[in-house]
C-alpha cells in the first residue's frame, strides 16, 4: 500500500566504523575482508533456509514436472524418459476428457466460489454487529474449516445418497422429484460445490470480518445521520472499503477451485478417480491424478499440472489488469 512507504534507510544499521581505519592498519588485511564479507553475506545466510527449502520443495518439483511434461515417462520407471517435446500438450488439446475436466473445474468452481463468497460477506456483516455470544459464533463459523475434508465429504456422501439420503428425503417432502446426486451431471456438481461451500464460507467470513472491523466507525455514524439504511451502509460503505480483501479472497478461492481434488475423489467412491462413470465431475486435479497414477503416465500428468499452473497465471494476470483498472477509475 502506498501509505506505508518505509522511511529510507533510517532503520538500517549505522555504517560500520567500529574496527576503525586506524585500528585496522596494524591488522592483517584478510580480517577486514572477512568483516566486509560478514556484512555482505550474513543477510543472505540468514534468509538462506527459506530459499533452500523453497528450492527443494518448490522450485525443484516445478522444474522437474516441467521436464517430465516434455517426456513419456512411466510411473514405475521414472528414470527412463523418452523425449516427446510438446507432444503431451498437443495431445491434451485433442483429448475430450481434458476439456471435460476443464469445464467441470470451471462450473464446480463457479458453483462453489460465488455462493461461498456472497454468503461469507453476509455472514461477516451480521457478525460485525454487536450480537450476544459473538465470540462463540465466530468460533462456530470456523468449525467447518477445521474439519478434515475426508470426514466432511463422507458425511455429505451419506446426506446426498439418492436412495437413503437426507437431502432427497427432504426434497421428496417438498414434493420434488427424486434426484440422483451421484450419477447426474449437475446434481453431482452441485453436491460437490456444497461441500466446498460449507467448508470455506466461515473461513472467508472471518477474513471479511477482520477487514470490516478496520473500517472507521464514524463513516457509519455519518451515513446513519444522513438517513442511510443498513443495506445502503453495507453496499456503499462496507463493500467498497473492503474491496482489496474481497479481491484477495476471490483469488484464493479461485486457486482452491482450480486445484479441487479431495472432495470429488471421495464423493465418487469407487469411481472417484474418473469423476463418476461418465467423468461427470472429474476436475483437472482428478484428471491429472488419473493420468499419473492409475494410468501411470507421469509425463502427461505433468503436462496437466503445468497447464493448471499456466491457467492460474492467466487468471492472475486478468485479476491484475482488473484491479489496476479499478484503481485508476476513481481518479479518471
Amino acid at each position: 500500500m502506498a501509505s506505508t512507504l518505509r522511511a529510507p534507510a533510517e532503520d538500517s544499521p549505522p555504517p560500520p566504523d567500529r574496527p576503525g581505519p586506524a585500528a585496522a592498519a596494524g591488522r592483517p588485511a584478510w580480517r577486514s575482508r572477512l568483516h566486509r564479507l560478514d556484512l555482505k553475506a550474513s543477510p543472505y545466510v540468514f534468509i538462506a533456509p527459506f530459499f533452500l527449502c523453497f528450492a527443494v520443495f518448490g522450485l525443484f518439483p516445478l522444474v522437474w514436472t516441467g521436464w517430465l511434461s516434455l517426456h513419456r515417462v512411466d510411473l514405475l520407471t521414472p528414470d527412463v524418459a523418452e523425449w516427446r517435446g510438446f507432444g503431451n500438450y498437443t495431445r491434451l488439446w485433442a483429448t475430450d476428457q481434458f476439456w471435460n475436466a476443464l469445464r467441470n473445474t470451471v462450473t464446480i468452481g463457479v458453483l462453489s466460489t460465488v455462493p461461498q463468497l456472497l454468503m461469507a460477506l453476509v455472514l461477516a456483516h451480521l457478525l460485525n454487529y454487536r450480537l450476544r455470544g459473538r465470540g462463540l459464533l465466530r468460533v462456530a463459523v470456523l468449525a467447518p474449516y477445521a474439519t478434515s475434508i475426508a470426514a466432511a465429504t463422507l458425511v455429505f456422501v451419506q446426506l446426498f445418497n439418492p436412495d437413503y439420503g437426507l437431502v432427497n428425503w427432504c426434497l421428496s417432502g417438498l414434493g420434488l422429484a427424486h434426484t440422483d446426486w451421484y450419477a447426474d451431471t449437475w446434481p453431482s456438481q452441485i453436491a460437490i460445490a456444497t461441500i466446498v461451500t460449507w467448508r470455506w464460507t466461515g473461513y472467508n467470513a472471518l477474513i471479511y470480518l477482520a477487514a470490516m472491523q478496520a473500517v472507521p466507525k464514524d463513516l457509519y455514524e455519518a451515513a446513519a445521520l444522513d438517513g442511510a439504511s443498513r443495506w445502503q451502509q453495507f453496499t456503499r460503505i462496507t463493500v467498497p472499503s473492503i474491496r482489496p480483501t474481497i479481491l484477495f479472497t476471490v483469488v484464493v478461492s479461485t486457486i482452491g477451485a482450480t486445484q479441487l481434488f479431495g472432495e470429488p475423489l471421495l464423493f465418487g467412491g469407487g469411481v472417484g478417480v474418473s469423476g463418476g462413470s461418465a467423468h461427470q465431475f472429474q476436475t483437472l486435479g482428478l484428471y491429472m491424478y488419473e493420468l499419473g497414477w492409475p494410468s501411470r503416465q507421469l509425463g502427461r500428468a505433468s503436462a496437466v499440472a503445468w497447464t493448471m499452473l499456466l491457467l492460474l497465471l492467466l487468471i492472475g494476470a486478468v485479476r491484475y489488469l482488473f484491479a489496476r483498472r479499478h484503481r485508476l477509475e476513481p481518479k479518471g
Binding site: 514405475l76 520407471t77 521414472p78 437413503y164 469407487g270 469411481v271 462413470s277 461418465a278 492409475p294 502427461r300
Partner: protein
C-alpha cells in the same frame, strides 16, 4: 432404522484399518524393544506385514493367530483395502518407489499378468521357498503367476468358480421356481437365457426389486465363460475384436435395456445397502461372493439365499500372494505365504468366508467337498463350487486385462446404466479411453 446403521457399521472396519496402519507405522519406527535383545537369526523377533483387499478371510479364519502361536518369534500385522482397484493403484506406486510395501502383498488375477510381466523383477521367486510345491495348485493357476523366466512370483489363494446366488423368497413372489436344480435349468447353457429369465422375473417382480444387481457383474460373468477374453494367447490386447468381449457386452447391454438390473456399482456402499434391503433377486456368484452376501445381507437375509449353477462353468477372480523383493524379511514372508496358501488353510478360509481353494488337494478335502455355509442353510456350497472348479476352461490373460475391465465396467456399462447412454456411443468412449490409457 436399519438403513442408517449400515454405513456406520461399514466405517468401523475402515476405522480399524486406519488404526492398524497407524499401529504399523509406530511399530516400524520404534524398531521394537524385543528385536534389540534377541540373539540368533532363528529366534529373532520378526514383524511381518500383510497387505490385501476385500475379504481374504485369514483374520476371519483365525489363521494369523494360529501362525503366531506356532511361531512365537513372528508377529503379523495386516492392512486391508476394500476397493481392489485402489489397492492395486497404490501397490504399483509402492512397487515403483520400493517403499510403503508390506512383506506380503496380494494381487488379483486381473493384474497378475502385469505383476508377472512388467513388474516381474520386483517380486521374489517363490518356487524354491520353504514349503512351496509348484504343482500343488491347479496348473492354470500357477501358470498365471509365472514369469517368462520361469519364476513363480505368486502363490494362488483362491479361485472363483461361477454360480448364481438368488433369493428364494423373491423368486417365489415373482412366480419363478425356487428349487436350485429348477432355477439352474432356467438358464442352463447360455448367459443370454439368464437375461430372458430376468425379463420373466421383472414382469411380475415384487415392487422395488430388480432381477439382478448390476449389468457390470453380468458382463464379468458372461465374459468369464468365453474362451477369448481381453487378450490372445500371446498376451496381446485384442479386446476390441474379441468375440467374447462382444458377446458379454451385448448381454450386459440387453440386461440394462430390459431394466432387469438395479444399475448399481458392485462393491460400493449403495450396493452393500441394497443387499440389506433385498433390492435384487440374483447376483452372479463366484465362490468369494458368498462371503460378501452373508456380510451385507445380514440377519434379515439369512436362509433366504440359495445357490444355483451358472449357465456355463467359468472362473471370475481369485488372487495370489506375492512377496516383494523390497521387503526386509522375504524368507519369513515366503514361509508365511506358503502356509497361508496350503490346502488345509485354504479349506479353513473356505468354510469361513467362501473363498474356494486353488490347490488340487484343497479342492478334494472333505472339509471343502462337504462344506455347507451356515448362512446358506442346507445348500451344498462346497460341492457346487468344487464341481464347477473341475470344469473351468481357463482363458489366456494379458497385462492390460485389469485396466480394460475397469474401464469397460465403470465407464462403459455403468454409464449406460446410470445415464441411459447409447450403447454404441458408450463403446466408442470405452475404446477411446482404453487407447488413451494403454498407449502411454
Amino acid at each position: 432404522m436399519r438403513t442408517t446403521s449400515r454405513p456406520r457399521r461399514a466405517t468401523a472396519p475402515a476405522a480399524a484399518a486406519l488404526l492398524c496402519s497407524a499401529l504399523l507405522l509406530t511399530a516400524c519406527s520404534s524398531g521394537g524393544p524385543q528385536s534389540a535383545g534377541s540373539a540368533g537369526p532363528g529366534s529373532a523377533q520378526v514383524t511381518l506385514t500383510v497387505g490385501d483387499f476385500g475379504t481374504f478371510g485369514y483374520k476371519e479364519a483365525g489363521l494369523y493367530d494360529e501362525y503366531m502361536a506356532a511361531h512365537p518369534n513372528i508377529t503379523i500385522k495386516y492392512e486391508t483395502v476394500q476397493d481392489g482397484q485402489k489397492y492395486w493403484d497404490a501397490l504399483t506406486t509402492h512397487l515403483a518407489s520400493g517403499s510403503g510395501l508390506s512383506d506380503i502383498q496380494a494381487v488379483e488375477v486381473g493384474y497378475i499378468a502385469q505383476a508377472a510381466g512388467t513388474l516381474g523383477d520386483k517380486f521374489t521367486d517363490l518356487s524354491k521357498a520353504d514349503g512351496v510345491k509348484a504343482d500343488a495348485w491347479l496348473p492354470w493357476k500357477s501358470k498365471q503367476a509365472t514369469t517368462a523366466k520361469g519364476a513363480l512370483i505368486g502363490l494362488g489363494t483362491d479361485i472363483g468358480p461361477m454360480a448364481v446366488c438368488y433369493r428364494k423368497d423373491l423368486f417365489e413372489q415373482a412366480g419363478l421356481p425356487s428349487d436350485r436344480e429348477a432355477v439352474g435349468r432356467l438358464w442352463a447353457g447360455d448367459w443370454s437365457k439368464f437375461v430372458d429369465a430376468g425379463k420373466q422375473y421383472q414382469s411380475k417382480a415384487p415392487a422395488g426389486t430388480f432381477f439382478t444387481d448390476s449389468a457390470s457383474g453380468l458382463f464379468n460373468a458372461a465374459l468369464s465363460a468365453e474362451a477369448q477374453q481381453y487378450s490372445d494367447a500371446s498376451g496381446k490386447l485384442v479386446y476390441r475384436d474379441s468375440p467374447g468381449v462382444k458377446k458379454a457386452w451385448d448381454i450386459a447391454v440387453s440386461a440394462s435395456q430390459a431394466k432387469i438390473s438395479a444399475g448399481l456399482r458392485q462393491f460400493q456402499d449403495n450396493w452393500n445397502t441394497a443387499f440389506t434391503n433385498a433390492q435384487f433377486a440374483t447376483v452372479v456368484c463366484p465362490s468369494w461372493m458368498t462371503g460378501i452376501i452373508s456380510k451385507y445381507s445380514g440377519d434379515s437375509g439369512k436362509g433366504k439365499w440359495d445357490i444355483a449353477q451358472a449357465p456355463v462353468a467359468s472362473n471370475w477372480g481369485g488372487a495370489f500372494l506375492t512377496v516383494p523383493k523390497a521387503g526386509k524379511h522375504t524368507a519369513e514372508a515366503a514361509a508365511l505365504a506358503a502356509w497361508l496358501t496350503a490346502p488345509e488353510q485354504q479349506a479353513k478360509v473356505f468354510t469361513k468366508v467362501g473363498n474356494l481353494p486353488s490347490t488340487t488337494a484343497g479342492l478334494q478335502l472333505p472339509a471343502v467337498q462337504g462344506a455347507r455355509l451356515d448362512y446358506f442353510g442346507s445348500t451344498p456350497t462346497g460341492q457346487i463350487f468344487a464341481t464347477t472348479a473341475g470344469n473351468i476352461k481357463p482363458a489366456p490373460i494379458g497385462e492390460q486385462d485389469g485396466t480394460v475391465k475397469t474401464i469397460i465396467t465403470d465407464n462403459g456399462i455403468l454409464d449406460i446404466e446410470q445415464h441411459g447412454t447409447d450403447p454404441a456411443k458408450a463403446w466408442q468412449t470405452v475404446t477411446k479411453l482404453i487407447d488413451d490409457k494403454v498407449n502411454g
